[in-house]
């Protein structure tokens, strides 16, 4: 009995050791589902990593269809690597730190673009664009095309989407109609006070204004079009200042006034008592009947989009001018990773994404017939009876979205509207400038912590205005003035180099 036990144990141990050795030494095939990859005369293979928010089970099918076209046109195949938002930061950092196969990657100034450039993780694109990406230039305004330059070089290609932003409120249409609220009279943020009064009086269990998300409180949206955040909001310029003097956002008079307005709303009960800590998204609160509406940056078709989320028909009212700010270009781009072994093929494929409607439709919407069907009116919708499809992507992250079909529920000429909207925006004098935080990174870390402590409370109206003074003082202690000085210096250098001053 004891002998057998011992034999079993030793066998187990041996098996485990052998397996460990095998797993360690031999190279397991770790593919992402690439088909027909061959070296030599075969088509070149590029790997593209990008952000997704859901599980895309039919990714292989879509990839195959895309490859049929790209194989023929440019002799390049793509291996799509969708990465969950949950894993994005981690996996991208790791991918770019090593030497795994990666050619094209989605990048964003909101997600570390400047850091990636300063760490040498992205490839310079100017020459590649000249030779293999010639068509891209013509798809977007020149200012946007050049809006991603760092130290004069392009490292990312903006996707075609809404470049301009205006800000306002989206709210439940049925209640607007019920109480005869005349939205044409609502022109400024302060005008909303009357609207909130009506709602509050008639719907006691509903907060007229809810936060869009815990970190996106009302004032954030109200102050956004007034200043250009210059990459990180630590030191901003006012949109109407051609001299481009960098100032502390939190010391501006406009900021104080907006805080007072929202504080007033909060005290009147127009916002939720736990506005600063609730984890619910504004859309969910409206869906559950606890909220009337919320602020956001709008675009053509925004209300229709939100109606799907809130299950009520929504109507939007714009309260500011449309603006195009320095990060408008760089909020979503495609870059080429330094891991790449074939930048030429990568650029060729990117060019395809800006010119080929079929490829873009496959990428953005899926396979016709399986994931969507084209109706008589030219708009597309889910196939009959299908609620969940195996493919879902978006129409703003990658490539030239103006080439793609329009979904039922949007205006048929939505892309035209968007083009016009983009053109109408007031352009910031600093469009194209990106701030490199590395000289002041210690101060940035300290300042970010201070902001984290006060921003949400102040901008939701839950903290009294006295806290603003304390906030400003602590910012100074943390070194914000040093950041502002550095930013002014970089901005001046950039302006001089680009003939803006």
């Amino acid at each position: 009995m004891k002998n057998r036990k011992m034999t079993i144990m030793s066998l187990l141990l041996a098996v485990i050791l052998i397996l460990a050795a095998c797993g360690g030494g031999g190279s397991q095939s770790n593919s992402g589902g690439a088909s027909g990859s061959s070296s030599g005369d075969g088509p070149a293979l590029v790997t593209m990593a990008y952000l997704v928010f859901t599980d895309v089970t039919d990714i292989d099918l879509v990839e195959e269809e895309i490859n049929k076209i790209s194989r023929e046109k440019i002799n390049v195949e793509v291996d799509l690597m969708p990465l969950d938002a949950a894993a994005w930061q981690q996996q991208v950092n790791l991918l770019l730190a090593g030497n795994e196969k990666l050619d094209i990657i989605m990048s964003s100034s909101l997600m570390g673009y400047t850091t990636q450039v300063s760490r040498g993780q992205l490839v310079e694109l100017d020459e590649l664009l000249e030779q293999y990406g010639q068509d891209i230039k013509n798809t977007m305004p020149e200012a946007i095309y050049n809006g991603t330059r760092i130290n004069g070089k392009i490292y990312g290609i903006p996707s075609i989407r809404d470049f301009a932003q205006d800000y306002g409120m989206v709210m439940r249409k049925d209640l607007v109609d019920k109480y005869n609220i005349d939205l044409s009279k609502v022109k400024t943020w302060a005008d909303l006070t009357e609207v909130f009064k009506v709602i509050k009086a008639n719907e006691p269990n509903m907060a007229p204004l809810v936060a869009t998300g815990q970190s996106n409180q009302p004032v954030a949206f109200m102050i956004a079009p007034v200043v250009d955040a210059l990459s990180d909001g630590l030191g901003v310029i006012k949109m109407d200042d051609p001299e481009m003097k960098v100032v502390n956002l939190y010391e501006l008079d406009e900021y104080r006034e907006l805080l007072l307005l929202v504080r007033q709303w909060h005290e009147a009960g127009y916002t939720l008592p736990d506005a600063a800590t609730t984890q619910e998204a504004g859309a969910n609160l409206v869906k559950a009947g606890k909220g009337f509406g919320y602020f956001n940056n709008l675009k053509p078709g925004y209300a229709a989009q939100e109606s799907l989320l809130t299950n009520h028909e929504m109507v939007q009212v714009s309260l500011t001018d449309a603006v195009v700010q320095s990060s408008s270009a760089s909020s979503f781009m495609l870059s080429i990773a330094r891991n790449t072994t074939d930048p030429v093929s990568a650029m060729k494929f990117i060019n395809l994404l800006y010119t080929d409607a079929d490829v873009m439709n496959l990428l953005a919407n899926g396979i016709e017939g399986k994931h969507y069907v084209i109706q008589e009116n030219g708009l597309i919708t889910r196939p009959e009876g299908v609620t969940e499809t195996g493919y879902q992507f978006n129409q703003w992250e990658i490539g030239n979205n103006f080439l793609t079909h329009v979904w039922e529920g949007q205006d048929p000429d939505i892309w035209e509207q968007m083009k016009a909207f983009n053109a109408s925006g007031i352009v910031s004098p600093a469009l194209g400038f990106t701030f490199d935080q590395s000289p002041v990174k210690s101060e940035v870390a300290a300042v970010t912590n201070v902001i984290d402590q006060y921003k949400i409370g102040l901008e939701s109206g839950t903290l009294e205005i006295e806290y603003l003074d304390r906030f400003i003082r602590e910012l100074k202690d943390a070194g914000i003035d040093r950041i502002i000085a550095e930013k002014q210096k970089q901005l001046d250098d950039w302006a001089a180099a680009n003939g803006k001053k």
């Binding site: 949950a86 790791l94 939100e306």
Partner: protein, 293 residues
């Protein structure tokens, strides 16, 4: 060790109160998974919600194939990982527990040092993916956590030192047994309590692990249960709490609070079912009486 009635009563009362404190939140969670979203947002979590609903489970049922598959992956890696980890840890702990072994102190330090100083995720990742190529394989879910902790090794070592009587080992030596024989036939059976403990901890660790999956696996066929659930959850939080999110809302159907609770429930229930099985091992070692006699 007989105690009188009063003491027993007091002890039981204490534990009943403690149990309520532990069960109550779990019940809240459980009930919340069967509550309608509307009710949760308006009333918060309560044991008696105004509206019941199976929506959360229906949503999960729609994803049943990926959830089922992830269950399978989790069970597999937990079984393999726990067994292998336990074996390797004990094999490492035993020599360390023998004070007659030269350099045992130094080796203990060698183990302990790893608990505090870590090269960090990036170098570890580089080693595992570029030298050993385990990305997107099952190994990626097992190996990085195998000896998660010098903690367990040192615990086992302490147990070996204090609870294995020296007489057992000495009498075995005199009978001419080899070290391996002593280890497998005497030391291990006497160590059931600590092995069960560490086995449980390793098991729970593997069961709940979502980090390895997040970092090393992008192939959705290899998602473990917690990895899958965590991704679903974080995708939603990302959308809700990020300025990116305010642009991205349209492309996700957001699962609700109830789903969050339902996910937690299906993650925990299997552990609760297995745990009683482990408790059987919390009895004293088998042969201790034999030695004395």
């Amino acid at each position: 060790m007989k105690t009188n009635q009063m003491n027993q009563f007091a002890i039981n009362v204490f534990f009943i109160l403690a149990s309520i404190a532990c069960i109550f939140p779990f019940l809240l969670m459980f009930v919340a998974s069967f509550t309608s979203e509307q009710s949760i947002i308006n009333e918060g979590y309560t044991l008696f919600p105004s509206e019941f609903s199976l929506d959360a489970y229906r949503y999960l049922w729609d994803n049943v194939s990926s959830i089922g598959r992830s269950y399978g992956i989790t069970i597999l890696i937990t079984a393999i990982g726990t067994t292998a980890g336990l074996l390797i840890s004990s094999l490492l702990a035993y020599p360390l527990s023998r004070v007659d072994l030269p350099l045992h102190g130094l080796l203990s330090f060698f183990v302990f040092f790893t608990m505090l100083f870590n090269g960090g995720l990036v170098p570890t990742y580089l080693i595992y993916t570029e030298v050993f190529h385990i990305k997107n394989t099952l190994w990626a879910l097992i190996v990085p956590s195998l000896l998660t902790n010098g903690f367990y090794i040192l615990l086992i070592r302490t147990f070996f030192r204090t609870s294995i009587p020296k007489e057992v080992i000495e009498s075995a030596y005199m009978d001419g047994a080899s070290e391996f024989r002593i280890f497998f036939s005497f030391v291990m059976p006497l160590s059931l309590p600590i092995l069960a403990t560490i086995g449980l901890m390793l098991g729970i660790g593997y069961w709940n692990d979502w980090f390895n999956g997040l970092v090393y696996v992008s192939d959705s066929k290899l998602f473990s249960l917690q990895n899958l659930l965590n991704r679903m959850l974080q995708n939603i939080q990302f959308l809700q709490q990020n300025t990116l999110g305010s642009k991205a809302m349209s492309s996700a159907s957001i699962p609700t609070n109830a789903v969050r609770m339902a996910m937690a429930v299906i993650g925990i229930v299997p552990i609760l079912l297995i745990y009683p099985f482990f408790q059987k091992f919390f009895v004293k070692g088998l042969t201790i009486g034999a030695v004395k006699g």
